[in-house]
Amino acid sequence: MLEIKNLSARIGDKEILRGVNLIVPDGEIHAIMGPNGAGKSTLSYVLSGREGYEVTGGEAIYNGQDILALTPEARAAAGMFLAFQYPVELPGVGNANFLRTALNAVRRARGEAELDAVAFLKLARAALKNLSMQDDMLKRNVNVGFSGGEKKRNEVLQMALLRPGLAILDETDSGLDIDALKIVAEGVNALRSPVFSALVITHYQRLLDYIVPDRVHVLAAGKIVRSGGPELALELEARGYAGLEVA
């Protein structure tokens, strides 16, 4: 379970999060929607430990552990995963090598045996097949020369292999055509289980047609200003975010 209590954070002098409160129980998928500049991406970066964001107050507890004190790699080992809005290119680094290194780092941290190249390839090929992706995805360099859709699919592939307990998807739908959107959504839905939860950050309701959330929260000016069921997303789509800050 993820429990965010009164979380405040800033970049430089700029206050971005101003007391976020949120609980995501295991087995649930929560959506966070909100206007540009509301702090959606900041929330995902603060939760995954990116440098440059200063936490000024509050806590984030995942499975009983205060994650804000952990390095990004320790958060990954604890079961957290951030699907990036803009996946980063790593020139010269093969995707298979990257995935195996990451998977083994996480397995090592969890006290599981590392996978050799053969066992890894078997696992990776099965995951590719489930996600309707080509095998050549593994041979290419990490995100180099990938289309926007391929980059997002690569994030979902990583998520499928790392099997996180908590996934944070930061506007994973941006720049995706409808087919790619479905593949990404299927990737998330396939992980649904009583021990998996997700925080889906999105700007549009469209993604939520495919990943149906248990709860929808509206983040505006650094605070959760409304929460509700899936119908809230539809309402936002119809009326926009105007006036929410005072709600």
Partner: protein
């Protein structure tokens, strides 16, 4: 960025004593008196039982060296070298072993420890090794196997005795004794090194390798390597180097000469891991080396690949003289500097023949307080119609206390020549590190992965057995650089 601050803090926080080859070996040594004079040159020559022509050559080189001045055009700084305080010859005191069985077990153990088993049964399959310890070759493996195909692979001191006509014909023919200060010094006092001869039409059946080890204190190592590939012959050769950790700087001034005749191919790979000095820049090897290959025959090819991670100072420019029409020169280089290391390295491609081509791929990585310079010359002579060169120089900076410099010279005297040069300088981006770390990689593993990716175009040129080793070496050499 805060990543840089953390990088610097990490560098300073860690005392970097990760050099795992820094041990010394206790063995009875024979050393000539320290200092350099004509008498020492004569002693070395006599010790080797050399013919008069070679002694005369050494003495000419020594006389010239005394008149020359140390070069200071490279972007490296060091206190004056006390040439008179050095020992110019050090060798195990026991008589030279005639076979592997006679090699001192202490030496065999040392090479074992370095990961170079000299016992042929335990040796890396398909690789013949010449092991050079301080001033002499102590063992050469697989000589009989090689002899069956006519390949000569032996210490150069032995080649002088057994194959004088070959040595006399080629020694100094690519790097004359007066080429430069350190080449002159080497010509006067070289004591051993490897000799390789591949006869016409023979493809050398194994990888050849020389492993250089400096052990003795205050001793310079001046090895000389000579490789000749006759018409249609081909060979792949690899050298590795290590030295104990010592507070004094030690001098290593080698000369390597390659000769490729018609359609011959020589691939020369180096994994240089001399002791780099400590985190404060104390100690380490001065690696002042002259390496040059002559593509004498038409359609011949010489390819240099180097991974340079060690040495306090590296000063070397493996070069190709592309004399034969259609000949090909290649230079693939990874030079990594950390702490207070300095590297000034690159290549010269001299296009003389028609339709000659050269490729230069240089990857420089600087961390800590180090300085890393690429210096290269591409020269197209008037008769080199249709000559082509492609140069790519990329520099990667880790932290904000280090430097990367690129000094390319291009001289074209033929209007039909095509010369391309591309250069980039980048830092490991904070978002790349964060991306890797959010997938569970430690900061050091992330840097290792990114650096290895950066060097991939060069590492893939190494013989497969050594590519993995080189990747590990890069990762180890980076420990504490940022993580």
């Amino acid at each position: 960025m805060s990543a840089t601050v953390e990088t610097r803090d990490t560098v300073e926080a860690l005392s970097v004593e990760k050099y795992k080859y820094g041990f010394t070996t206790e063995i009875a040594m024979e050393e000539f008196p320290k200092g350099l004079n004509e008498e020492i040159v004569r002693l070395i020559s006599a010790k080797k039982g050399e013919p008069d022509w070679l002694l005369a050559w050494r003495l000419k080189a020594f006389a010239l060296w005394q008149k020359l001045e140390e070069p200071h055009w490279a972007r490296v700084e060091h206190p004056p070298i006390a040439y008179d305080e050095l020992y110019y010859y050090a060798a195990p005191a026991a008589p030279a072993p005639k076979s592997l069985e006679e090699v001192d077990p202490a030496l065999l153990n040392m090479y074992e420890k370095l990961g170079i088993p000299l016992n042929e049964r335990a040796a890396l399959a398909g690789v013949a090794v010449d092991a050079v310890f301080d001033s002499v070759s102590v063992a050469t493996t697989f000589r009989e196997t090689l002899a069956k195909s006519g390949v000569i692979f032996c210490p150069i001191s032995e080649a002088v005795r057994e194959h004088p006509e070959l040595v006399r014909k080629y020694l100094g023919s690519v790097v004359p004794y007066g080429d430069n200060y350190f080449a002159a010094l080497n010509s006067a006092v070289f004591s051993d090194g490897s000799f390789v001869y591949i006869p016409k039409g023979v493809r050398c059946p194994m990888e050849l390798s020389t492993y250089f080890r400096i052990n003795a204190r205050n001793t310079g190592q001046f090895e000389r390597t000579l490789i000749i590939a006759e018409e249609g012959a081909s060979v792949s050769y690899l050298e590795g180097c290590t030295a104990p950790m010592r507070d004094e700087n030690q001098l290593h001034a080698a000369v390597v000469e390659l000769v490729a005749m018609d359609d011959a191919k020589i691939k020369y790979s180096t994994v240089q891991n001399w002791y780099p000095g400590d985190a404060q820049g104390k100690g380490g090897i001065y690696n002042f080396v002259t390496k040059r290959g002559a593509c004498r025959g038409k359609n011949s090819k010489i390819s240099w690949t180097q991974v340079e991670t060690g040495s306090a100072i590296t000063w070397k420019y493996p070069s190709c003289i592309l004399q034969g029409d259609g000949s090909v020169g290649e230079f693939y280089s990874v030079a990594m500097t950390h702490n207070h290391q300095q590297a000034d390295t690159g290549t010269k491609m001299i296009h003389i023949g028609k339709n000659t081509t050269s490729t230069i791929i240089s990857k420089g990585i600087s961390a800590g307080h180090s300085n890393n310079t690429y210096r290269g010359l591409v020269k197209i002579m008037p008769n080199a119609s249709g000559a082509r060169n492609y140069t790519q120089c990329d520099s990667l900076l880790i932290g904000d206390q280090c430097g990367a410099h690129t000094v390319p010279y291009i001289e074209s005297r033929n209007a039909s020549a095509k010369v391309e040069h591309e250069a980039t300088t980048s830092k490991i981006a904070e978002d790349q590190l964060f991306y890797c770390r959010s997938r569970g990689l430690s900061e050091e593993d992330a840097v290792g992965l990114i650096v290895n990716g950066f060097c991939k175009d060069v590492l893939k040129e190494l013989p497969m057995e050594f590519a993995v080793e080189a990747q590990k070496l890069l990762a180890v050499s980076l420990e504490g650089s940022v993580g």
